[in-house]
Every structure is written in C-alpha cells, then in structure tokens.
Symmetry: D2
Subunit: 450 residues, 4 copies
C-alpha cells in the first residue's frame, strides 16, 4: 500500500496512484487472497479442470471494475485506453497483485494478456483491435502467446522453426509450440503466434513474423499441458500445441512480414517489470506467512518459539534486505522506462529479470523451511508460489543468457577503462619521479645471494 512505497520513489507517485494502490492492496488482501483456494476448488478435478471457468473470478472482476481497478498495466501516455498510470505506479500495484494467484486476472492485468494487448494496441490495425483488443480489454476473452518451441534451443529466438507461408490470400502455419501459457483456458480465444515467414532471409532478425490465429482454427491440436513441478496450473496451463496446415486470412498478420522480432522485443520490457514486481509481492507474501509461523504459539520445538531459534530471525532480516534491494532494482528500471522508454532501459530490465526470481526463490524457500512439512504441501501457498517463480529463471531466456549478454555489454567499457588505468599508472610514475621517490618493495635490498 502507499505507506510502504520506498522513500526513493515516493514523490514520483501521484496522489491518484497512491489512492489506487491502497485500493489494490485492500482488494488483494480482503477479496483475492481469500478467494484463491475457492478458485482452486471451483476448477475441479481431472479433465474438467481444462473446461473450467471458476465463477468467483467473474465476481472478482465485477468488484474490481467497480473499484476502478482495471487494465492498470496499460502505460500512461502511450495508449488512449490507459487508466493513466506510469510504469512505476503500476509496478507498485503489480507487487500487490503478486500476492494472490487470482488478483492479476481479476483486474485484467494477467499475463500473457497484458503483453498481447500491448502488441495489439501498439502494432495491430483497426480491424485487429476491434476484433481482439476490445474483448481482451473488457476481460471477455483470454489469449496466448506462442513462441517457444520444443525441439530447438529457444533461448535463442532465431532458432524458431514454425513455418508461416503465404498461399494466395492466406497464411499457412506448420510446426509445434510449447509453453504456450494460457492455452488451456476455454476462454482463450486467440493465439498470437511467432513463426518464420522468410527463413532464408540473410538477416536472421528479419525472418520472423507474428500472426493472429483464432484458437478454434482447424488444424490446431492441443497435445497436452506441461506441468511445473507437480502443478498443472489449470485452467490456464502451459500448452504443447501443433499446427498442421493451419490457415488464416492474410489480414491476420501483425505489422508486416519480417517484423516479428521487432514486435516481440517491444513486448518483453514491460512484461518483465510486471513479472518482477509480482514476484516481489509473492516474496513479501511468503515472508508474512513465515512471520506467522515463527510466532505460532503452538509451535515450540525445544521449549522456544521458532523466532527464538538460532538462525530464524537472521533469515527474516536477510529476506527483508534482499527483497528491498531487488525491489529497488525493478523500480529503477520502471522509472527509467517512464523517463526514457524501454529501449534505453534494456540493462535495467535485464537486471530485474535475473535478480528478482533468484531473490524471491530464496525468500520463499526459507519460508518453506520454517514451516516444515506444511511448507511443501497444499496447506500453504509457498510450494506453488516457488514452483511458479522457478520458471521465471527460464522463461524468455535462462538467467545465463541474460548474464552473458550483460557481461558483454559491461565489457564494452573494457578498452576505455584499460586506457584510463594505464594513464593513471603512468601519471603515478611521473609523480614518483618528480618527487624523487621509489615505491617501497619488500626485499628490494636483496640484490642477489652472491
């Protein structure tokens, strides 16, 4: 809530946003978190889980709309549909949304819809907007983003192989996708698909296109949903889908042939900030559960409450520091994105992408450990939260790819700093000479052992 905004950004948050933030926090704590297990119960069992539409989600959506909590993610200034928050302001809200599994969807701020709406708003033509952006903005349908493929190293997007071929007035798609998150939901009506329309283009970043494929198009097979540790994440799910001569009108292409890379680049920045802030929220949530546990009067191993034992308060303190540091990294990225746009903020976004999931996982794992058996089970939100966030170290490229990229970028300073240090060393030698001085070197009087 607004009282907890880090001082370093407090003055950049408008009064309106502070008010909304307080409403978000209250909505999440009082409506969404209690509803999370209800959603699970409404999803049901077996195959029914993939045909489910938990009614409580619609109830929450109605409440959220009434409270003015809708589409807050759509950044101020860029879109007329935006409720008018900066990336910083929405980031602070996203942290609260991250404490609940259902809150993002309840406020129409859930991935992958958010990124997909941004793509449509930014790159879609008016017909595409009318058909897909409008119902997405209204929360009437959901969507999926199909990029990752099972048979290649998809951390490198140039490896993508799904074929998009023009035949007459249509595009024909052939290939496979997986980790198509959201494809399990029966309300998921539209796939935004990345594929290769020009695989022989010499520029490996011009081979790709992005195209809109209605979920009910002939030739699409949903093979299965991938599980994350033991969770199926129904009804959302992570689909493994194949395309067998799937035909869509040529007008479904977004922006133009060969512009796929451009589109996904624009899509990733804000989404990473959202994911990062939600993960911060999940970490705060885990820390609060841990605080509950270590003060539980029924849990007194060896005659003392857990908080009085050895390392437990140190876990709390470290978690506090690590969360706070990670949050500042994200907020710094959000501020820079607000001021200078996503392209100028690549470094800061990458820092958040790498640091935040590792931080949240460490905090949640400490909470699991404090809880003992309950921590790994269905009796706390911890294990499920850990599993979800574990995927963020892999999604959109594993940590290591980002670290290598960041290392290379930082290393671009190598030549300049080398020259500076060499110049400094030379100046030292001059100063020593001027002052008729010699560095002290131990043993320099031993000239030899003759």
């Amino acid at each position: 809530m607004s009282a907890r905004i880090p001082d370093i950004v407090k003055h950049r948050v408008s009064e309106k946003a502070k008010k909304t933030l307080d409403i978000v926090a209250k909505f999440v704590e009082e409506e969404c978190i209690p509803a999370d297990p209800v959603v699970d119960a409404q999803i049901g069992e077996g195959s029914a889980r993939w045909e489910s539409h938990p009614p409580i989600i619609e109830e929450l959506k109605a409440k959220a709309k009434q409270l003015g909590l809708w589409n807050m993610f759509l950044p101020k200034g860029h879109y007329k549909e935006s409720p008018g928050y900066t990336n910083l302001e929405y980031g602070l809200m996203a942290e609260w949304l991250g404490r609940s599994k259902v809150a993002s969807e309840a406020t129409n701020c859930a991935a992958p819809d958010t990124g997909n709406m941004e793509v449509l708003a930014k790159y879609g033509n008016e017909a595409q907007k009318a058909q897909w952006l409008k119902p997405l903005m209204e929360g009437e349908i959901r969507s999926a983003f199909l990029m990752t493929e099972p048979d290649v190293a998809s951390s490198d997007a140039t490896n993508i192989q799904l074929s998009i071929k023009k035949e007459g007035n249509e595009y024909v798609l052939n290939g496979s996708k997986w980790w198509s998150s959201g494809a399990g939901d029966p309300r998921c009506k539209i796939y935004i698909v990345m594929g290769k329309s020009d695989p022989n283009n010499k520029d490996p970043y011009k081979q790709q296109s992005v195209i809109l494929v209605p979920a009910n198009t002939k030739g699409i097979t949903i093979h299965r949903m991938l599980s994350v540790y033991g969770y199926d994440d129904a009804p959302h799910g992570h689909g493994h889908i194949s395309f067998n001569n799937v035909r869509v009108p040529a007008s479904n292409l977004v922006l133009g042939e060969g512009r796929g890379f451009e589109i996904i680049q624009g899509r990733l920045g804000p989404g990473r900030i959202h994911h990062a802030m939600r993960s911060i929220g999940a970490a705060e949530h885990a820390l609060e559960w841990m605080l509950m546990r270590i003060n539980d009067p029924k849990k007194t191993p060896f005659g003392k409450q857990l908080r009085e034992h050895g390392v437990v308060l140190e876990w709390v303190a470290k978690s506090r520091i690590e969360i706070d540091a990670a949050r500042l990294i994200v907020l710094n990225a959000a501020v820079k994105m607000d001021d200078l746009g996503p392209k100028a903020t690549l470094k800061e976004i990458a820092q958040a992408k790498v640091l935040v999931p590792q931080t949240a996982l460490a905090v949640i794992d400490r909470a699991v450990q404090a809880f003992g058996g309950a921590g790994v089970s269905q009796d706390t939100p911890l294990a499920n939260s850990w599993a979800l966030i574990r995927t963020l170290r892999l999604a959109d490229g594993p940590d290591e790819v980002h670290l290598q990229q960041m290392g290379r970028n930082e290393n671009k300073r190598g030549k300049e700093v080398s020259q500076k240090i060499l110049w400094q060393k030379e100046k030292t030698e001059q100063l020593l000479k001027q002052n008729n001085l010699k560095r002290f070197q131990p043993g320099s009087n031993i000239k030899s052992r003759l």
Copy 2:
C-alpha cells in the same frame, strides 16, 4: 557399479557385494528406470490412484528376487534374515536404487518398510514378527510409520501428543498424524505408531510408546494425502490420518511402555544412510541427464552447444566435486556404523543427513536450469526428484535442528581447546622471555603525542 566405488573404500567391499552391486546397477538401468514412467501410467488418474497396484512393480519384484536382489538393506550380522551385506555395501547399492523411483520397492528396500522391518526384527516379539515381519520381508504387504503430528512442532519428538491409553487388555489410541508416508497404498496393512502412553512421566524421553496398528482397524480415518510441490506421490502418498478411539490388543505394543524413544532412535540411523545414498544416486542421475542435454546436437543457442557456453562445464565440475564429497561423508558414516554401531555414529549420520540433500538439490537444480522448460516439466525426472529430496531437508527434523545439535556437540570441546590455546599463549610468552624477545608491534614506538 563396482568400477565406480571410491578408492577409499574399495578394499572394504567384498567380492560378493561387488558382484551384487553390478547386478543392482544393471537391473536399475535396464529394468527399473525404463519402468518408472510405466508405473506412473499404471497408477492412473483421480481417486483410482490410491487404489492402484501397478502390475509392473510385481514383475520387477519377481525379476529382482530371481537376481538375488532382495532385502539387501538388512545389515549383516544383526539379523539372521540378512542377505549379508554391510551398511557400506548396501549403501553403495542404495545409490543405484536412488536413480529410479521404483527400484527400492522392486528390491524390497523401500522406506518406510525398511525401517519398520528393522524395528520389528530388532524389537518385535515372535508373534509380531510372524504376523508382520514375515510378509513385509516377502514383499507381500507394505507399512507406514506414524510419528509426525500436524498441530505441534514435531521436529522435537517430545511434543508428540497422540494418546495411547491402556484399557483392560487393549490400548486405545486418540489423536492425529500426518506425513504418514506410504499410508496411501492399498497394500499398506500395518501402521507402526508412536504416541504417548505416559504423558506425565518426569522423564520426557520415557513418555512415548510404539504400537502396531493394523491399517484396517476401526476408528482410523485417512483424511487426505499431502502433496509435495504438486506431486501426490500416489499410491504411496503422505497421509493425514486421525485416530478416534482406535483399539488394539495390548500385545501389539512393541518392546514395552515408555520405550518409544529408544525404538525410534534405533530406527533412524540406517534409514538416514539409505536416504542419503539414494539422494546421491538421484544427483548422479540428474548429472547424467544434464550431460545428455548439454551435448544435444539439436540444442545450439547462439550457434554453440550448451557445453560450450559460459558456465555450463563449471556446473558439471562443481556437481562432480560436491557429489563426491557428499558421498564420502555418507560412506564414512556407513563404515563407522559397520565398525562401531549406530550409537557411536550419530555425528557422522547427522552430517550426511544435512549435507546430502542440500548437495543433491543444488545438482538437480543445475540440471533443471540446463534443460530450460523441460526441466521443470513431466518430460524429465528432474522436477519430481527435486521435490522429493526437498522434503529430506525437513523430514526427521529440519536441517537447522540437526545443525544446532551438531554445533552444541562440537562446542563441548570448547573448554578443552580454550585451555590448550591459553597454555600455548603462555608458553609463547615464556619463550619470548627466555629469548629476551619482544613481539613486533607496529607503532609501539609512539609512546604518546606529548
């Protein structure tokens, strides 16, 4: 297999054990690992998962018996039923069993039966042995060990509350248990239950008794199975069970009233070695999957195979070192247990209990990271393996309880080493005096700034 036995223990492994070890390895690699997904498929879906008896397990059991791979866990010398292996020798076999989910059961070496069989063999009377030990040894039934309770800090076993009251010729049990592993299996016929028969005894370690309760006794309710990071571990499962005036004949008591602590203490040692060695095996298995992945010719992000990227080979090397170090810690405990018995080996067992799961989790997590999305999904054994081993940092007391205990024990040397160091310091002063020397102290010539 025998060729990979660490040199430090090679000569302590009999030729017979080496031969058996090679047979175990072959059986696991060629029969059990391929069967693991078959077991999963045979378990089925929904409620059926808890009524399942995968036929392939019985096929594997028959093969194992034929190969002479049966009850290898039962230590040489202590039991006439033992096939004659030392803890060290079985430990080496358990490592191979740990590579497969089904291998331990296939060779009748699965927890919690192993510990339960040891309890019955060591502390059971002849009638108890005839009724329960015999069919367990034959692999005809399975068993559970009911100790942990949901409402107390069960890392401290003195907190246990399930009541065992004598009424006439019966004991009456009331209370709740959870993490009753194995209780889900329809073949689980017998519960070994720890409770309090004398809650007011001044000696907190004499309040407990252990009693045999057939699974089909009236008054028992299985409420549910606890999940582990989304996995239900069916049909084995981790039961949450209540006892409501459950009555068993007085003759079901093991060893005698008030001897519960003694029994569980004796039970834990070997089991921890088994768990530890199986975890080592799981780590080796994960490392091999990782080696497969990083050499996969189809996975070439940024034009290079994964093994050629940044840190990947360092992960492999670190995993190698860490696994090897952890294995030696376990084998040292096994050797000491063979030579001096479990009581003399508490420190070494505790070291294995703490070090091995942390090591295995780190190795498996690296493999997950190398695999990307497939690593967290059902397409590799990695995520499930990680989840299982994560519980070992909590089961039988969390790491922190063991570390505190080990710290206290090590600290018992505190007084002695303090005296030694003070004596050494004094001797130094004498030597300096004798030699008319002063220690060099920088700045000691500055007597004051007068």
Copy 3:
C-alpha cells in the same frame, strides 16, 4: 560522475551537485588515484611511518579547496558550515572518493573526522567548536574516536568500561581502548572518548559520557597499532591506547553527563552511509581493474583472452547487478535521511551497513581471482581494498548483531500479519461454505482401509 547517477534519483540531484560530482570524479580519477602510490612511498618504512606527513596530501588538499571540494559531507540545512549538499548528493560524491585511498582526506571528508566534526557541530559548545571544530573543518588537524575496548564484547556498547570520574573541576579517565582509528597520525590532536561516568545508573543507556581529550594529555599511552590482515594503515592506524589517570578540565565534557549514548547514536547514521558509498566506489574501482585484466592482450591462457573464458563475463554481470542493487539500498537510505532524518532511517541504514560490505567484498574477490597472483599482491589496489572493507563487517557491530536487530524489528509485524492471515483463512472457509464447495484433497476418498 553525473551521467551515471541512477535514474531513480536523478531528478533529486541539484544542478550544482551534478556539477560538483563531475568535478569530484575528475579530481579523483586524475589527481587522487595516481597519487595513492605516492602517498605510500612518502609514508616510508619502519617507525617513520607513524611520524609521517606525506606532502602530496597537502598538495591535493590545496587543489581540492581550489576546486570547491571541501567538507561536502556536512549535510545541508543542519549546519551553517555546510557547502549545501544533501545526504543523497554527498553520497554520490562519496562513491567517487571511495575509489582512491587519499581522496577522502584530500577533500576533508575522511573518517573519523567527519563523524567527529558532526558531533562537535551538533553537540559541542562554542568554546569546544572554536578550539577543535574550526581546525578540523580547515583540515589543519585530525582526530580519533575512542569507543571500542579490547577486553569486552564491544558490539554491545553497554559493556564499555573506561571510567570517567569527576574530581573537582576535572574528569579523570582510566581504561583501555583499541581500534582507535586515526590515532597513529601525528596530526591527530584530539580524541573524542566514550566512557562510563555513572556505571551504576539503572538505565544502561545513561551510564555513558563523551569527553574531549587532547592527544598530548599526560597519562595516555599508545601501545601499538593493530594491523588489518598484513596492513598497518600508517600513518592513520588503528590504535591500542591506555588511559592512566588522564585528567582533563570538566569543560571538555560534551553535552552533559550520561548523554554519551545519545551522541554516538546521532554520529553513526551518516557515517554508515559514507562508508557504504565509499565501498560502492571501491567495488566499481575493482570492477574496472577486472575489466582491464580480462581484456589484457598479453594474458591469453589456452589461446583465449580471459573475457572469453567460462565464467568470467558472468562474474562481470553479477558484479554489475550486485553493485547496482547495493547502491540503490544506500541511496534509498540517503533519500529517507534527507526527507525524514536519521532516526526514521535506522532500518534503511542498517540494510546498507550489512549489504554493502558483503557485496563489495564479493566483487573485489572476483577481481583478485581474475588477476591471479597480482591480485593478492602490492601490484593492484585490490588486496588492500578487500582488507579495509572486510573490517566494515565488524566495525560498529558485526553483521550478525545488525541482522538480529533487523529481524526483531521486522518480526514486530508478526502479530498483525498472523491475524490477517488467520482472517483470510476464515474468509476462505466462509466463501467455500457459501459456494457449497470443498477443497480438493488428494486421497480424501480413502476413508479407511477397512
């Protein structure tokens, strides 16, 4: 320099401060860093090291004054002597000062003088200010702060034992101090001494007083200087000093008897920010040396430059992230101190106190490792920098004391969050009931095994 100010605070830095920051950066890089080895050479060898006054320091001080770089640490608003920078602004400058060993003294911003000047400015009377603050502000003398004692656990300041007794118009001091940093310098003319004037006061925080003791007072013995790893830090040094009936006029007492705690509390906050930002600077400096090394064309083990080897670029990237996160933690504290004062900022200051040295040590150690032998030797600034910063994990209380304190503070939320979570759980139960739902629990159909 100003171009590198994190975006999150850019708009809070005045144009004047930005200009000064650029001048500081240039002064440090072009004058101070080249002078560091010259200072070392001028200090000399043996006992002479403690009588030394390296002339180049005075040259740098003159240059700094001319450039307007003097006493920047004294916060805006609080002191008429202040050059007018906020804690945030000076913090950014302190980062640059931290790249050089001599830069802080050259700009009269060196510890412990900075904290001592704050004490005198805040709590000193006019006579005390005239006699000691004025020459300190001018850089004519230096000072030491004497608090830590050799024979007690001084991480807990209530343990302090040096006795301050009033006798007539004088105070008489008896006791020992060590880690009296700066006491080695012949220009150190004044000690600010913490001791006990009322050891029997029931309030353990009212027993202490702070008193001014000229370095040349009779009864003071400087026994020796403590080394840090192998460094003596001459002529500054870390003194081990005893007081034997040292008498000073009663008017030397600061603020009043029993107000020692109040004084040191006020002293610590800004100093910790300064130390933290200087450590950030040292880490950046180490990272630049590392960049030089990994691009050195002469260093090509196994045919490749270091930057092309395995993990090296990942070290660079991690260092970048960790430094940036740590810096934001400090800047957030500085901003809050500017807005709300040091008392409101205890948590944030403690976070910086703990996080920054650990971060800097990790970064510097990576640089040492990249350099090989040169890294641990006198040929780079790395080893010395590491040793200095290692003391910051101990000075003013070890990390663990701060972590425990922070853990306790965070845990104050325990009761409130427990109540919230219990309320949420109850609401969930109501919602489930209202919707006539049951949570799915695996195995819940197994009622028993009758």
Copy 4:
C-alpha cells in the same frame, strides 16, 4: 592425532604411522604453535627480515629429528630415503603440520623443498643428488621453484618464456620469474628453474626444460618480494627475480632437454595433497580458536555468550561438516595415489585442489567474524592464515582452470550417457506399448477449441 583419523581410513594406517601421528600432533601443539610468534619476533624488522635465520627454527628441527619427525613427506616405496609412510599416512600428519606456521619447516616437510626434493630424487642424476638433494634432505639448505612469470598468463604453462639456450658447455638463462616462493630466505641456495629450451618445437609440451641454478649465480637479480594481503612472508618470501645472461654448466639440466613438462607434472600431485591437508589443519586450528572465542566468559554481548547467539553454533556445525567432507576428498586422493599412482589420480587431486582452499577460507572467515576486530589483527593467527590460503585458489592454476578441465573430463561421458538415456526412453515406449498404456498428460483431452 590417531584418535581422530576418520573411520573410513583407520584400518589403512599402520601402527607405526599412528604412533608417529600422535608424536607429530604433540610436537605441533606443544612445541611449534607456541614457537610461531617467536619465529616472527626473531625475524625482526625492515631489511633485516630477509637476512634472518630465526634460531628457534633450528632448535625445533633438532627436536623433530630426535623425535623421528623428519622428511615424512617422502613417499614409501618410491625412495630409499623415505621414512616409510604412505601418502595417506603423511597426509594425516600434514594436517597437523598445517596448524602451525613453523611446523613444516621444523620437520623438513616444507614447500617448495618437498617438491624439489622429489624432483631431485626422481629425476636427478647422482651428482645432482649429492650436491643438492643431500643437504636438502638434511635440512641444511633451502630451495625455490621458479616457474610463474609476471608478463604472461602463467595458469597455462605453455606460455612460459624464460629462455634456456645452450652455448658450448653451458646453458644461458634470460627472463623473469615471480612468485618464486622461498627465494627470500638467505638459506635458499638452489633454484629449480623451468624455461624454454626449444620454443619452436611443434609439440608445445616439449619446449620446456628444467635446470638447476645456484642462487648465487651471476646475473640473477632479486627485485623484490611480493606481498600477500600485506604480509611479506619473510624470510621465505615470494620473489620477483630476473635472469640476465645467467650461465650454468650443461650438467645442471634435469633429465634432459624438452622434459620440463614431464617433470613439473610429476611434481604437482603430492604437493597438492600436502597443501590441501595443511589447509585442513589450518581450518581445524581456526575452528578451535573460534570455539575459544565463543566460550570466552568475558565476551557477553547483550548478556549472553557468543555461543548462545543466533547463528554461531550453526557456523560451528557447518564448519565441522565442510571440513570433514573436504578432508575425505583429500584422503580419497591420497589412498588412490597410494594404490594406483599420481597419474591415475588426477581427477581426485584436482577435486582436492579446488574444494579444500574454498572450504578452509570459509571456515577461517567465520572465525574472523566471531572474533571481531581481533580476528583481522595480529592478535590471532586467523587473518594471516586466511591470506596464505587465499593464494592456493590461484597457485598452480586458478580454480576456474581446474574446474573447466574437470568439466571437460566429466563431459567425456556425455555421449555414452546420452545413448543410455535414449535407450531407456525407447524401452519405456516399448513397455508402454506392450502394456497398452498411455502416459498421463494433463489436458490431453482438449483436442482443440473448435
């Protein structure tokens, strides 16, 4: 001492070795450790430190000889001069030697003499042995090993540049060396020098030769000694030395031209075991000092002894586990070396080389932290010990070079394990087919959303 030999190797240690081990332990604890500060005091200050021969070392050597503690390092079986201990047995002794700075020299088991004696014993001709090995074995002179060079990446030994050219009946040496450990000692009479005699040989491992150069040969200049975190390690020292047309008789060549690599390979194995075991000893020593500190009745911050505070006992326990695991890694290498020779043991030696220093540094750093200021100062052996061991992560190749090498070696299994796993997967498919089964895949009933 013998009572602490890990059980896993106890039976492999002869009674004679056990007796000697007890004598070593007693000698180290009662004679050497008290003498360590005396050695420091006898070394003196300034230039005198490099001309020093602390008399107490000779006294200790005399005592050691009398106790039969002399040259224990020389492995049984390989040398007639050997006192007859296995690598395992001497390893256990080396651990005790590692607790004291002077103990290795006092028993004539100090590096680099040990490695140099092995080179001479193994590869030297009779004349070389008579002139140099004999006085070294007697402890009459000391030696240095000159390999590392300042201007190249010497972690890759093929980069070495010092030129060894034959001219008539002499070899002429030109070039520079540094980290020539031991070269500071006035008793150091002989350098064993690695250089290039055939820099154009196509085989990069045949370009090098090893040659004996008396320390008093004309043309040698000792420029200075390198410091290690501020320590000069006088009189031993780490020399920076240049060779300017240094001429030695052709008969000084060891083994033959082009055989330098072969010689240094043979030299490294045992030395790494020695270093590792000494580091284990240093870690044990640090742990004991830590135990003293945390039980010091005078050190009671916040009313409790240090051992009662938060994390301290966990530090003790972790240190215990980590030391024990690292020791077993070294002992496993020693056993394998005893059984199969150094060449077969490369992997195990590399594991020890990497794991042990990292472990010892972590343990010592915890002890430093427990001591507070005293830990980094001259008042404990901790800081100096840390600095010495820090160099072991760099000496003979940094950790990263060894990890890459180990990773590559482990990865050689890649093809084989890939084939095995693929075979297992195929067998699974067959089994599923045979049993008419399908894997359960969540969401597999969703064929499409038509």
